[in-house]
Amino acid sequence: MRQNSKAFNRHGIITLKNVGKINPESIEDFIAHDGYIAFEKALFDMNEDEVIDEVKDSGLRGRGGAGFPTGLKWSFTAPLKVKDKFIICNADEGEPGTCKDRLIMEGDPHKLIEGILIAGYAVRANKGYIYIRGEYYLSIERLGKAIKDAYKHGYLGQKILETNFSFDLEIKVGGGAYVCGEETSLIESLEGKRGLPRFKPPFPGIAGLWQKPSVVNNVETLCNIPDIISKGGEWFRSFGTKKSTGTKIFMILGNVKNPGIIELPQGVTLRELIYEHGGGMEDDKELKCTLVGGAAGCFVGPDLLDIPMTIESLSEHGAALGSGSILVLKEGTNLIALMKNLMHFFKHESCGQCTPCRYGTEKLYRLICKISDDIARNKPDVNDLNEMLETAKMMQKTSLCALGQSPLMPLESAMKYCVIDEFKKRVIK
């Protein structure tokens, strides 16, 4: 089934440029659209450090959620002199309301392979893994074929294009666990284990897969690489804002007229996203707020409609961009029910390894259920809400990985915007 993505043909700039345009099962078609040109340029005309410098110059930051500068990440791993080094592509895409990586993998799989190859060359790695979540059957199939074709055409394997660069690429498949999107948990899962995050340091760039240096990058991040190499970091910087360069894929979902996926230069505002690209509010209802960045994201209300949707400007307002998913909620949405859904998500996806998150997510879920029941009986207790907040704060301080640290953000922002209203309306004096 095709994605509902009316807008992307018109707007694909870098990462979605080919999606929907080329035949994803044909390497020839990809090559005919300037495919593998950037890789060849890197391989023949640039040395490893020049590639990293170009990526640094582009200002590219990770698109997996945390926004870590990609060139900098590579530069930690590149100088390490060890026999095995790995590039790991994070294609676990588990964040609710996020479907950008899937679109790329199904629509332009070779672009990802090209990005991985360039990354592999730059950090002097010899093997790559793409960790795809198990539910993405079509992505697995298409990428599987693409890798086979790339081997056939000499882009993968020993002595690639008759140079001294050798690189193998393999697909690994997840089993249904959101936490495996976290890079260290992903590595454990790659090793065939339970997806329990490791404590950091050491960071994967130093000791990752089988304790070997491993660069973990998101699909969208890696798909920016070919254009950065072929057109230059400066060209890339011509899109977006000073600190958030390039483009970003946004998923505009929920109560809008045209939900869909779109790649835009960074710096667009929420207003533009909803009313221009999303076609406006469904049934022309009022906007209540949005949930930006999925479950681990943050509620952003109408007061921030006109600020740029970039990491830095959102963080000035205590919010985060995350994966770029924007769930638009109309007036009248039952936020408590939505919070219940979110809290259930965290409880369901906690790996259970560390105390604050294992028990804390359960506690949060039970409390929101109680609140929900109490509201139905018209007797909500504000103390329960405070207890939730205190618990989430403690989790944020003490949890091992970012999953346990996440519930605070949606909770706090929901209280700021809306949940309190639902209380105010009902609290009996």
Binding site: K347, C351, G352, C354, T355, P356, E362, K363, S399, L400
Partner: protein
């Protein structure tokens, strides 16, 4: 190398974790998943401290020391976080210390005591005991398990029996034996390593149940009498009755590092058995009678001499026991080789 903890400077070795330096110097940081034998785990999140220059809280069991590091272990911020974590554990288990075998020797109890927690302010419903009584020597009570993972690490990495693992995830996480079987049906060899390393009363020595509180028991170190490895053990002896209640391995013994086998740990019935021989017995007319050592040894010596004279030395053979020490075995083979005069000497090499 030096680090500062709570304003005082201490010596530290570069590879040490903050918690180790603190422990060496008598500074208590509550901790539940860390154990020197299994190394860093970072799972329970109780051992958090503040480190100058690093924002937020750090787990002291995974934070390596560095020159000049400044650590605080007791700010209100830290204690509050620790209290909430410990409260969550208490809230999710049946921690009614009164009946618990671990009472007085429980690291969760220690942490709660240190943090001034009386009753957790919140309870995850009514929690019933979840007891697995299927195994011969060990009782499992999941309602006291805090999923710290020490037993799993110990079973897999220390004794390498690979019976234990975690199953499920999130709130449903639990320890499993093999394919989620009862302990008694699993491939567990009842070595008891997991019992010894469990910080709480979730895994306990069945035979010690109800036999006395830890503070009523005298601890006596000795060497296991079963085999030549010579594991160091600690007997826990009831002061009033002089009975052995349980046996644990001595953690800092270089021979066994706290590990024991099922016999060393649980096979202590013989000590006070009525059937145990306490004097030599001599059989006369088909009946055994008690004798003195002198009489018995003289008798055996004369019989041996008789056999030797009549049939030659090779008519006699010696079989030594693995239960005795190397030195005793050495003396025994001297006896057989030099005094009896034969090379017919062997060793059971096992029990």
């Amino acid at each position: 190398m030096h680090i500062t903890i709570n304003g005082k400077v201490y010596d530290a070795k570069p590879e040490q974790m903050v918690i180790e330096v603190a422990r060496e110097n008598g500074i208590y940081i509550p901790s539940l998943c860390y154990h020197p034998k299994i190394g860093k785990a970072g799972k329970c999140r109780v051992c958090v401290v503040e480190v100058e220059g690093i924002g937020g809280l750090q787990t002291s069991c995974t934070t390596q020391v560095s020159e000049g590091m400044k650590v605080v272990t007791n700010s209100e911020n830290i204690l509050e976080a620790q209290r909430m974590v410990v409260n969550l554990m208490l809230a999710n288990g049946r921690h009614d210390c009164i009946k618990c075998e671990q009472n007085g020797d429980c690291e969760l109890q220690d942490a709660a005591y240190y943090l001034g927690i009386e009753n957790p302010p919140y309870q995850f419903g009514i929690i019933e005991p979840q007891i697995d009584d299927s195994a011969e020597m060990i009782q499992v009570d999941r309602s006291k398990c805090i999923e710290c993972g020490r037993c799993v690490a110990a079973c897999n990495n220390t004794v390498v029996n690979e019976v234990l693992e975690f199953g499920n995830r999130g709130f449903d996480t639990k320890i499993i034996f093999d394919n989620d079987l009862l302990m008694g049906e699993s491939s567990c060899v009842q070595c008891g390593e997991c019992v010894q390393i469990c910080p709480v009363g979730a895994l306990i020595d069945k035979r010690a149940i109800g036999k006395g509180r830890t503070w009523e028991l005298d601890k006596v170190e000795t060497v296991c009498p079963y085999c030549g490895v010579g594991c160091k053990l600690e007997l826990h002896i009831d002061r009033k009755t002089d009975e052995i209640v349980r046996i644990t391995g001595v953690e800092d013994s270089p021979t066994n590092e706290g590990m024991l086998c099922v016999k060393g740990r649980y096979g202590f019935d013989f000590v006070k058995s009525d059937e145990r021989l306490t004097t030599p017995l001599i059989k006369e007319n088909g009946k055994l009678r008690e004798a003195s050592w002198d009489e018995a040894i003289t008798l055996v010596a004369s019989k041996f001499n008789g056999i030797k004279k009549k049939f030659g030395s090779d008519a006699i053979a010696g079989l030594a026991s693995a239960k005795v020490t190397n030195e005793e075995n050495f003396v025994f083979q001297k006896l057989i080789r030099r005094e009896v005069g034969t090379n017919n000497i062997d060793h059971c090499a096992r029990l």
